[in-house]
C-alpha cells in the first residue's frame, strides 16, 4: 500500500509539474489548431507555441493561405507574435502546346497513312473528321498525342 501511495503521489506531482510548466502555450496551440482544422485551406499546418510565440509551418497552396494562417494565429488570445514558416507551392508550369504551324505539319505526317481521315488544326485543337477502321484508331491517336496539341476532338466515323 505504502508503495502505491508513493507512486501515486509521484504521478500526481509530476503531472502537476508538467501542466504548471507551460499551461498557456499548450492551450494557445490547441485553439490555433482548432481554428485551422475548421478551414480545409489550413488543415495540414503544424503549430508550435513557445512563450506566446506561435510558429506555423507546412505547405500552402497559395499566398492567401499563408496570410490567413498568420492572421488566424494572431487572432488567438495570448499570442504575442507569429513566426510564419509556411511555404507556398509554386504553381505548376503551364502545359506546353505546339503552335498551329508545327501541329499542322505533325498532323499531315500522322495522317499520311490514313487517307480517309481529315484533320484540321485551330488554336491548338486538332479536329478529326472522316472515317477510320477501328483497329487503326488507337495507332492514329497515339501518333497525334505526341504532337503536343491542346486537345483532340475525335469526330471520326468508326467502321
Amino acid at each position: 500500500m505504502k508503495l502505491i501511495k508513493i507512486l501515486f503521489s509521484f504521478l500526481l506531482l509530476s503531472s502537476l509539474f508538467m501542466v504548471g510548466c507551460k499551461p498557456k502555450d499548450a492551450d494557445i496551440k490547441a485553439s490555433i489548431e482548432e481554428k485551422m482544422k475548421a478551414d480545409p485551406m489550413m488543415a495540414g499546418m503544424t503549430v508550435d507555441v513557445n512563450d506566446g510565440v506561435a510558429t506555423i509551418s507546412g505547405t500552402c497552396a497559395d499566398e492567401a493561405c499563408k496570410t490567413k494562417c498568420e492572421e488566424t494565429a494572431k487572432s488567438v488570445k495570448g499570442v504575442k507574435s507569429v513566426v510564419n514558416n509556411c511555404t507556398v507551392t509554386p504553381p505548376p508550369a503551364p502545359v506546353t502546346v505546339n503552335t498551329d504551324d508545327a501541329l499542322t505539319r505533325g498532323v499531315t505526317d500522322a495522317t499520311k497513312d490514313h487517307p480517309t481521315v481529315k484533320a484540321t488544326v485551330n488554336d491548338g485543337v486538332v479536329t478529326l473528321t472522316g472515317e477510320i477502321k477501328r483497329d487503326q484508331l488507337a495507332k492514329l491517336m497515339m501518333s497525334l498525342n505526341t504532337l503536343k496539341p491542346k486537345k483532340i476532338e475525335n469526330k471520326l466515323t468508326i467502321k
Binding site: V95, T108, D109, A138, M142, N145, T146, K150, K151, N154
Partner: protein, 138 residues
C-alpha cells in the same frame, strides 16, 4: 481535379508501370499525361486503360504523350502494317525518300529529332529519318 478522378485508373496504371518523368497536369478541362515508358508493352497497357475509360477516345479531355524510352544505338523493329517504311532525307513527309526499311526488319536509332521523327540506320546501311510511330524499340 475532376479529370484526375475520372482517369484515376489510368494515372494509377502509369505509376504501376513505372513511367519515368511522369507528369500529370489538368488545365482547361484537359488532362495532360507525359512520361517515358520502359517498354512498348507498358505504353500499350496505358492505351488499353485509356481506351477502356474513354471508349473510342471521344471525350477530348486527355492528351497522353507517353513514349518508349530509347537512346542512340537502340535497335528498333519496323512495325508497319505490311509495307516497307520510308526513310527520308529530313524529318517530314514532305522530304524526299532516300531509302526503305523492310517490314519487320531492324533499324538502329542514331538520334531523335523529336517524338515523331528519328534518324536511323537500316540493316543495309542507309541513313535517314523514319516516322517513330512505326518503330518499336527492342
Amino acid at each position: 481535379m475532376a479529370l484526375q478522378e475520372k482517369y484515376k485508373e489510368l494515372i494509377d496504371a502509369a505509376n504501376a508501370e513505372g513511367i519515368s518523368n511522369l507528369q500529370v497536369k489538368e488545365q482547361d478541362n484537359v488532362l495532360y499525361i507525359d512520361g517515358e515508358a520502359s517498354s512498348g508493352a507498358a505504353k500499350d497497357k496505358l492505351w488499353d486503360v485509356y481506351g477502356k475509360l474513354d471508349p473510342d477516345f471521344r471525350s477530348a479531355d486527355v492528351v497522353m504523350n507517353v513514349n518508349v524510352a530509347a537512346g542512340a544505338g537502340t535497335k528498333a523493329k519496323v512495325t508497319t502494317d505490311k509495307t516497307n517504311l520510308n526513310i527520308r532525307k529530313g524529318p517530314g513527309t514532305d522530304q524526299p525518300i532516300v531509302g526503305k526499311a523492310a517490314h519487320e526488319s531492324t533499324v538502329t536509332l542514331l538520334s531523335k529529332t523529336n517524338d515523331q521523327w528519328w534518324l536511323v540506320k537500316t540493316e543495309s546501311g542507309e541513313e535517314g529519318y523514319a516516322y517513330a510511330q512505326y518503330l518499336s524499340p527492342e
